[in-house]
């Protein structure tokens, strides 16, 4: 009996790396940034802290949308459903006497729990029909919430439990809450994408049929991502409801949230961790500099997103990364020939 192996692996020495540079730089940079952003409200003017709060709310939403669309291929235009449900879950818990800040993780859990049955309906549709169905779900949630008198009905009501805080304190604490939620969401997404789940998602994105035949349970993977994104958007809604404590359905369930998530992810770069953050920065710079001109910032951002989808589908960060071969938060692997290959 021959003992010769059937396949002889080429004796190439390859190096497999995650980072394009020493990870030490990323870790140190991240730590410095985390410290700076944590002490920010003590340093910067209060007005700027409010802007930063809104910025991080958008970062949370965009990161979740990017996870849905950029990694799991689900274009949802109904994520405002979970923003709204998160806000209203917080409101409900606050009415029942819970501290609104304590209610944030519970609001996220409520959204995750509601997302599970919703996926069983939505996953019957695919592509564009899935997209509009998410919007129908959001519209339905808005209409149902609008009929509940305790939650303020269609006209809205103020978040209880914040009255003993001064406006400055509210701004300060809601910034910290938002920043910590954003930190958890971005770090959690990063860890998730580096794990086995990230590999599964990448395989679905690149070739769904091949992934399925290799034993990947595509539906279950999509379902868990949808639930995670619902929880993240719910947390965003919770901090939104604390930082802008007058809660009304038309604001919390606003389609504009979906538009903003989509635009900043597109502009920054779908399928990268950095993309939504960079997109959010661009969005905020435009919004702040054009705030005298009404809705023009949204028109410009929308047109920019369309142009990028058509001509630079990997987004600004994707283009930058392709050109300079650098990554700040790598989730994949780089394979390079070693010094003494073959």
């Amino acid at each position: 009996m021959s003992t010769e192996p059937l396949f002889v692996a080429p004796r190439a020495r390859v190096k497999v790396r995650r980072s394009t540079h020493s990870p030490l730089f990323t870790i140190i940079g991240a730590l410095v940034l985390v410290c700076l952003l944590t002490v920010a409200p003590w340093i910067v003017p209060a007005q700027f802290a409010t802007t930063l709060t809104n910025f991080f709310i958008l970062v949370i939403m965009a990161t979740m949308w990017n996870l849905l669309a950029g990694y799991a291929g689900m274009v949802s235009i109904g994520q405002q459903a979970f923003v709204g449900l998160g806000a209203y879950a917080t409101l409900y818990l606050a009415i029942k006497g819970m501290n609104p800040f304590v209610a944030i993780p519970f609001a996220a859990l409520v959204c995750a729990a509601l997302a599970v049955p919703i996926t069983y309906l939505l996953f019957r549709l695919r592509g564009g029909y899935f997209s509009i169905a998410t919007w129908v779900v959001s519209d339905t949630a808005l209409l149902i919430i609008g009929t509940i008198a305790v939650l303020g009905g269609g006209t809205g009501r103020t978040m209880p439990g914040l009255q003993n805080l001064s406006p400055a304190e509210t701004a300060h604490f809601s910034y910290l809450a938002t920043w910590f939620v954003a930190l958890i969401v971005v770090t959690g997404t990063y860890v998730l994408l580096r794990s086995r789940t990230g590999l599964v998602l990448a395989s679905i994105r690149d070739n769904e049929v091949a992934a399925r035949s290799a034993g990947v349970n595509v539906r279950a993977a999509r379902r868990s991502i949808f639930v995670i994104a619902a929880a993240g958007c719910g947390a965003a809604g919770a901090v939104l409801a604390i930082s802008q404590p007058f809660i009304q359905p038309s604001n919390e369930f606003n389609l504009q949230w979906a538009a903003e998530m989509l635009f900043v992810s597109m502009i920054g770069g779908l399928g990268t961790i950095e993309g939504p953050i960079i997109g959010s920065i661009i969005f905020f710079v435009l919004q702040q500099s054009l705030q005298q001109q009404g809705a023009w910032y949204l028109i410009i951002v929308g047109a920019l997103a369309v142009a990028i989808a058509l001509w630079q589908p990997r987004g600004l960060w994707g283009a930058f990364r392709d050109r300079f071969h650098t990554e700040l938060l790598p989730v994949g692997h780089w394979v390079e020939p070693g010094e003494s290959g073959l």
Binding site: L125, S131, G294, A305, A309
Partner: protein, 290 residues
């Protein structure tokens, strides 16, 4: 009698929904594109009609004679440029691009015309109705819109089954590559299909402007209704669109009868129920779902 009225009013509104939805259905059936800017296109048609009819001295009622050809041309051009370019990338991109367009159009209209409602002036006709029984009033405008919806669906059906171009459209819809191998220029065929879809959406937008007031944000709600109609009726079935429209209209009237704030909710619930029980829609085949 109340119930009869609910059914009649629902069917009248349903005619409008069907007219609105058939462009969406056609775009999906042939191009496999969900145009998320569909509703906003209709609103744009309404604004164009309001803008043009006093300047060209045509009465609002007949403004569609001008606007519909303009939109057919626009449909062809938009398809051959923006939409074709995104189809060439992937279906994912068409969603992002049409959603982006939808938000851009809505906010441009908001900047140009403010959020105030507009309507197409059709004189005293708006208030006139046929009054066959004690509480039943059938508005002539709604009746005309229902008739227009039936006519458009009938014309589309005949066009797709009898004419040469119609057969070409169906061939491309069935198997793009085979049609291309037989010498069909699928991009041109896509353009024609988009032109027809845009023409129907212009008609729907004008009908909407005659029946009620519209604002820059009206597009989104109507896209939702059109989409619900397509799913309820069955994806890819033209007559399903009419039945779906009428079913949605009746559900909404029924909801409004219970409580005025339940009008849209009842439609959404019908949609979700159909999705749960019969996802292929009332007239759809299961295979068309994927």
């Amino acid at each position: 009698m109340i119930w009869l009225n609910i059914v009649i009013q629902g069917a009248l509104v349903g005619g409008f929904y069907a007219l609105f939805a058939c462009g969406l259905s056609l775009m999906f059936g042939v191009l496999k594109v969900i145009n998320l800017a569909h509703g906003d296109m209709a609103v744009v048609a309404g604004y164009v009609a309001v803008f043009l009819s006093p300047r060209l001295h045509i009465p609002g009622l007949w403004s569609f004679l001008v606007v519909v050809p303009i939109f057919a041309l626009l449909g062809y051009v938009v398809q051959r440029t923006l939409i074709q370019k995104s189809i060439d990338r992937d279906p994912f991109t068409t969603l992002l691009v049409t959603f982006g367009l939808s938000v851009v159009i809505e906010n441009l209209l908001l900047e140009m015309y403010s959020a105030n409602g507009q309507s197409i002036n059709i004189g005293s006709l708006i208030g006139e109705s046929w009054h066959p029984a004690s509480i039943i009033y059938i508005s002539y405008v709604s009746l005309a819109v229902l008739a227009a919806a039936v006519l458009v669906l009938l014309a589309l059906q005949l066009f797709l089954s009898k004419s040469g171009i119609g057969r070409l459209i169906r061939a491309v819809a069935d198997d793009q590559e085979a049609a291309q191998l037989s010498g069909a220029n699928y991009r041109h065929v896509f353009g024609i299909a988009a032109a027809i879809a845009f023409a129907t959406v212009a008609l729907a937008g004008i009908a909407y402007g005659m029946m009620t007031q519209f604002a820059p944000t009206s597009g989104g709600v109507n896209l939702l209704f059109a989409f619900e109609v397509v799913v309820i009726g069955g994806i890819g079935s033209l007559w399903g669109t009419l039945v779906g429209g009428i079913a949605l209209g009746i559900a909404q009237q029924f909801g409004a009868h219970i409580n005025l704030s339940y009008q849209i909710l009842a439609g959404n619930v019908l949609f979700l129920a159909v999705l749960a029980v019969r996802p292929q829609g009332l007239f759809g085949r299961r295979s068309s779902l994927a």
